[in-house]
Symmetry: C2
Subunit: 394 residues, 2 copies
Amino acid sequence: MSLAPSLAPALNSPLPPPEALPQLPYVSRLLRVADRSEPLVLRSGESLERVDVAYETYGSYDGTNAVFVCHPLTCDAHVAAHGPGDRPGWWDAMVGPGRTIDTDRYFVVCANVLGGCSGTTGPTSPRADGRRWGPGFPAVDIADMVAVHRRLLDALGVGRLHAVVGPSMGGSQVLQWLLDRPGDAATFVAVAGTARLSADNRCWNAVARSAVRHDADFRGGHYAPGAGPRSGLATARMIGHLTYLSEPELERRFGHEVSGPRSGPAAIAPYLDHQGAKFVDRFDANSYLTLLDAMDRFDAFARPSVLGRVPEVPGVLLASLRGDRRFGREHSVHMARGLAERGVRAEHHHETETEAGHDAAILELPQLAARIGAFLSAAPQLPKDGRRRSCTVG
Amino acid sequence: MSLAPSLAPALNSPLPPPEALPQLPYVSRLLRVADRSEPLVLRSGESLERVDVAYETYGSYDGTNAVFVCHPLTCDAHVAAHGPGDRPGWWDAMVGPGRTIDTDRYFVVCANVLGGCSGTTGPTSPRADGRRWGPGFPAVDIADMVAVHRRLLDALGVGRLHAVVGPSMGGSQVLQWLLDRPGDAATFVAVAGTARLSADNRCWNAVARSAVRHDADFRGGHYAPGAGPRSGLATARMIGHLTYLSEPELERRFGHEVSGPRSGPAAIAPYLDHQGAKFVDRFDANSYLTLLDAMDRFDAFARPSVLGRVPEVPGVLLASLRGDRRFGREHSVHMARGLAERGVRAEHHHETETEAGHDAAILELPQLAARIGAFLSAAPQLPKDGRRRSCTVG
């Protein structure tokens, strides 16, 4: 799609007025990708007349080397540190100079998802009347997140990508992107992703959601900024966090045989409390529910896809992790099967180096990194499209 | 141990005054097994100067045929219906006329555990000053529950048992009983029990406990009778309940492929809400925490046992269930190993007929029932001890 001319120059623009960035110290840039003249029509049929996207970029764009990284449920655009003095990114293990997604070689873009609370429009954002969306924010689908990513790239002047890569919910965005716009990238890489939640996944999400909603401080989502269902959200996070860790990993950290100030059985409650408190300080409850709902509704293969009808078949790599009780091996097998039915043969890498579980998707895993690195390098380079554009580190 | 004479006649006594039975419509009988003259000294060193036990009996005692059934975490003394018109028991699949634990043949005793809230002394019971124990109820160990069961049997005039049987936390009581008093029964049967919680078990318990404690209505445990942390306790129950069910079982009930008024993805939230609400209506939060804590502290093989020093080695059957993510196969393997180190060879039955998970421990499983039935029948019958006593159905 083409964007209104008024939006295009936003690349490398200074930060927008503070009201648009309520509590986000670490957004590098913000770009408006939908406004009244070009609203974003969601899958649900609802429209958003204003969508701002918080994004970060790494490396320089040469017209052929763009890699879009899609983030997991509660991460943000800060996929990697912008140098030694910067705060850590959520996927420093994979993205950076000399890393698998080498920012000396690739132009990396990462954006906070639609419905998130780290800069991109979501329940904490102002509506047209200046009040926060809160619980009235429309239902968002994974496909809507992808549509916003695509608008961002259009505005940045990035056409076809070398790759779209993402772990966990990021992997679901990768799959949706492949199904909706297979011509958008040479390669698609989903790490520990899913095409559809299992009944078990949904059940845990239901308990998490219930814990948030039944917290008296939730007030139907109408809590004041900075307030909200702290204990319910902390419980929800603890539940989620435990499903990210494998039983062997928990035993290694908290089993009877280990001891230390932060290990062994006595460390469990403080550890989980800390996970809960840390999360509550950085995440908004309405946004959390919006994203959980998006995952619950996600069913990648339920709708028709153009995938079987495009002449150029992209390369697809699906990676699953041992001990992953969130989106384990069978989720990648299911994705591969669905793609095969649409004429695309996906490679499936099952990581055996770790048994740390879903959490390992963003950890340092040399075997997985090597596989992804080789996959990205083997992909045919895009022809230069003459839209070379230099971007400084954001 | 011998009980004070004043306690013995309580057998078949009428129900005690209402204050001792605050909200329990279905206690059959109540017996005082500790009083000021014979207090119960807990493992922690604390003493209880009054312990009442709610129990039910089935069948007739002939001096040789007593079977004690230990109940899981949140069950009670009502192990089976007392006839066609009675409300269902929690283990009707196993206990009753013609069933595996055949009440036409065995004299079955089941008692609510110490610390529970279904009639036996626990946090909802009155202290000496008439006020409820509440959060001040002493820490209870599995060994304390067993000691109370033993006092109950003494008071009932039951000496050596034919068998002690129990699923889940009941299985842990069985193991503790075996370690503390191996001469008490000819056979010990633990179904889906554990000698010690895994790190994963403890983590889920920690989240459940946190949900209860952080509910504003918990008030440090000082809530009024009938009030309390409803939403936190419901969340805790949902968490527990999900760990009792296997992934395949959840998929069978709530997967995409199934539909119906009570199945498929849309049924998940109502189902879990119902599980939570049902539990909150019947269980006390302080009691729940007391029992969770007992399980967390339980470590059967950490203390010396007389087991290796008794001449007569009882028969031990350990059963584990496929898909059990609470106390699965490895828990029974661990119990068998610990017993082997103490000179007792336990039989281990791994049930493959179901993959319903931990919950299946109290369901109808013909293969498991047959194995337990054969095991009970093969055990040497006790010599008649002349203490025959007839009990009517309670």
